[in-house]
């Protein structure tokens, strides 16, 4: 319980021990994955054969390091492309939604708000199959009736982007709306009063205020897209993003290259996450 209420020693010790075990449980899989990327063995398992960087840099028949594994590097590029598109689209829609829900009043607003939240409670698989089915239906209809072939409505990167965008944009909307809600509307009036045009106000006052939320939500969107699996698996075409490639490898039988990729991902996403926390925390000195 709280500090001001006396507790028995035994209780406190048990509680502390519980918390420690919890964090061991939390960290163990990650530590293990990271550690075995340096194991000088063909398999990511014990016994420990000594330290090596082969699984990052080697380039021979037996061992092909991460940076020479074309398939992985290619899907890494695909993932980055997809994640960047999803982040940009999501932030743009979220910005528009935030202004719609925070600044406008119209009939059916709360209904529309609930509708906007629904993607958060739809399992990713279902979101994926529904978009797949709808895309195919539209594509078939256009092809059969008008002879128009729209390749992007078939499984492929565009569909992956749309599928991920469908639920990630909701999360971005929540982040940006929360920030906009804290904005003091008087600041905009003050700027207008000081001679700024409507566009000036948006550019010099509102946008700088939203900047931490925009950057933060873009990073969140990027990471969520990058690690998305369920929706992606349904919609993916021939160009596989990294998670799909890794999943296939994992089922084929894993090598420490996967550990190396994982470590790289951990470091990169950790860095991005820290950046987003830093950006959001460094609020412009609030009055």
């Amino acid at each position: 319980m709280i500090a001001s209420i006396p507790q028995s020693r035994a209780f406190q010790r048990t509680y502390k021990a519980y918390i420690s075990i919890f964090f061991v449980f939390l960290m163990a899989p990650l530590v293990v994955v990271a550690a075995f990327s340096f194991n000088d063995s063909l398999f990511p398992s014990l016994p420990w054969q000594g330290f090596t960087l082969d699984w990052f840099f080697a380039d021979n028949v037996e061992r092909q390091g991460l940076f020479h594994d074309d398939k992985i590097m290619e899907s890494l590029g695909t993932s980055i492309l997809v994640a960047a598109c999803v982040a940009i689209l999501s932030v743009l829609l979220a910005l528009s939604n935030a202004f719609l829900f925070e600044r406008q009043n119209f009939r059916g607003k709360s209904f529309l708000y609930s509708l906007m939240l629904i993607p958060l409670v739809i399992p990713g698989v279902i979101l994926g199959i529904s978009i797949l089915a709808f895309g195919s239906n539209v594509a078939n209809g256009l092809e059969d009736n008008h002879g128009i072939e729209l390749e992007f409505l078939r499984p492929g990167l565009t569909m992956v982007i749309l599928g991920q965008f469908a639920f990630i944009s909701t999360i971005c909307t929540l982040v940006i709306s929360a920030r906009l809600r804290k904005f003091d509307i008087q600041l905009e009036e003050a700027a207008l009063n000081l001679g700024a045009s409507r566009f000036d106000v948006f550019r010099t006052i509102t946008l700088p205020w939203l900047k931490p939320a925009l950057i933060g939500s873009a990073i969140v969107a990027f990471l969520m897209s990058f690690e998305n699996f369920n929706t992606t698996l349904v919609l993916v075409g021939s160009d596989a993003p990294l998670t799909i490639t890794m999943f296939d490898r994992m089922r084929e039988g894993s090598t420490p290259v996967l550990n190396a990729v994982s470590l790289l991902l951990m470091l990169a996403s950790g860095a991005l996450a820290l950046l987003s926390i830093f950006v959001q925390r460094k609020e412009p000195g609030q009055a």
Binding site: M1, I2, A3, I5, Y15, Y18, I19, F22, F23, L26, M27, A28, P29, L30, V32, V33, F43, S45, L46, L92, S96, N97, L100, Q104, F106, S110, L112, Y113, M116, L117, I118, I122, P123, G124, V125, I126, I129, S130, I131, L132, A133, F134, L162, A166, S169, L174, F226, E227, N230, L233, V234, T243, M246, M250, S254, S262, M266, S269, L272, A273
Partner: protein, 288 residues
């Protein structure tokens, strides 16, 4: 400055993207799978209305047993996650102070930033026959030979709980942080004991966090694919696998859509039930 037409125009411009998005990516696609699930293929390109896919679900034990199993395991996972996460959230929100508080909180966030695939991979390395735990058990002499810890239901649950942990801890921490220490003090002051204070003050206060955590965890578990597949192996029998199989492998979209609709119904029902029982509103619980 704000003429009526200008205001209308702004509303229209802001409304358009949202409506396009909702219709094209959410509403119409889901109506589409509902439509597909309710038809039967007669010949190429010719369909008729039929409940055959749903009949198939109820007449084939494999399907409805998998469905039931997924639902029960998801509920169990949610419950276990809540029980494990609550003391941790309490510790972070109320016991830890200053630096250690933010470090602990960040530590809870870290696994979330790493792909679920990587996390599951970690569990595979730990639990496989040649894995760390097996070796550890042999080392301390609990078992004689290597033990295979993968591919059973307990392991699947461990993986699911692990993956869900963050989504329970974060909402709990944020509600518990709002709890004034003096409320607990008052409960003691008025003659309550620890258990009493927990039951009558803390838990009712944390209810919004508990509900939103449970809903998210339940949703994610129900819709999970990676963890049951990788940790449970071929016979893990998770309902999302059935959907994938029907859609991707067998190309039986009618059946797959019916499964999707069933899963969606189940999850909506559970969300609705959770909100009703705890008297929380959807937009406030989910929109946090």
């Amino acid at each position: 400055m704000r003429t009526l037409t200008g205001k209308r125009l702004a509303l229209f411009l802001l409304l358009t993207p949202l409506l396009l998005y909702l219709f094209l990516l959410i509403l119409l696609p889901h109506l589409e799978i509902l439509n597909i699930s309710l038809r039967e293929r007669v010949s190429y390109g010719v369909y008729k209305f039929s409940l055959a896919s749903y009949q198939e679900f109820f007449s084939e034990p494999l399907y409805w047993l998998t469905f039931l199993r997924t639902a029960v395991m998801s509920v169990l996972t949610t419950g276990i996650t809540l029980v494990i996460a609550f003391p941790v959230a309490w510790y972070i929100a109320k016991v830890a102070r200053g630096r250690s508080k933010s470090v602990l909180f960040l530590a809870c966030l870290i696994p979330f930033w790493v792909s679920e695939l990587v996390r599951t991979y970690g569990w595979m390395i730990l639990l496989r026959e040649t894995g760390i735990v097996s070796n550890l058990l042999q080392f301390i002499g609990v078992v004689d030979g290597p033990v295979e810890l993968l591919y059973n239901d307990v392991t699947v649950m461990v993986g699911l709980v692990y993956t869900s942990m963050l989504f329970m801890v974060v909402p709990l921490v944020s509600t518990l942080e709002g709890l004034d220490d003096s409320m607990v003090e008052a409960a003691y002051d008025l003659g309550g004991n620890g258990w009493n204070a927990l039951k009558e003050v803390v838990i009712p206060y944390a209810m919004p966090g508990i509900v939103s955590g449970c809903i998210v965890v339940f949703m994610l578990t129900l819709g999970n694919y990676l963890t049951p597949t990788l940790l449970g192996g071929k016979d893990s029998l998770w309902f999302t696998e059935q959907i994938f199989t029907q859609f991707i492998t067998r190309f039986n979209w009618e059946q797959g859509s019916a499964f999707g609709i069933l899963l969606l119904t189940l999850s909506s029902l559970m969300v609705w039930l959770g909100l009703k029982l705890s008297r929380q509103s959807f937009s406030e619980t989910v929109g946090r």
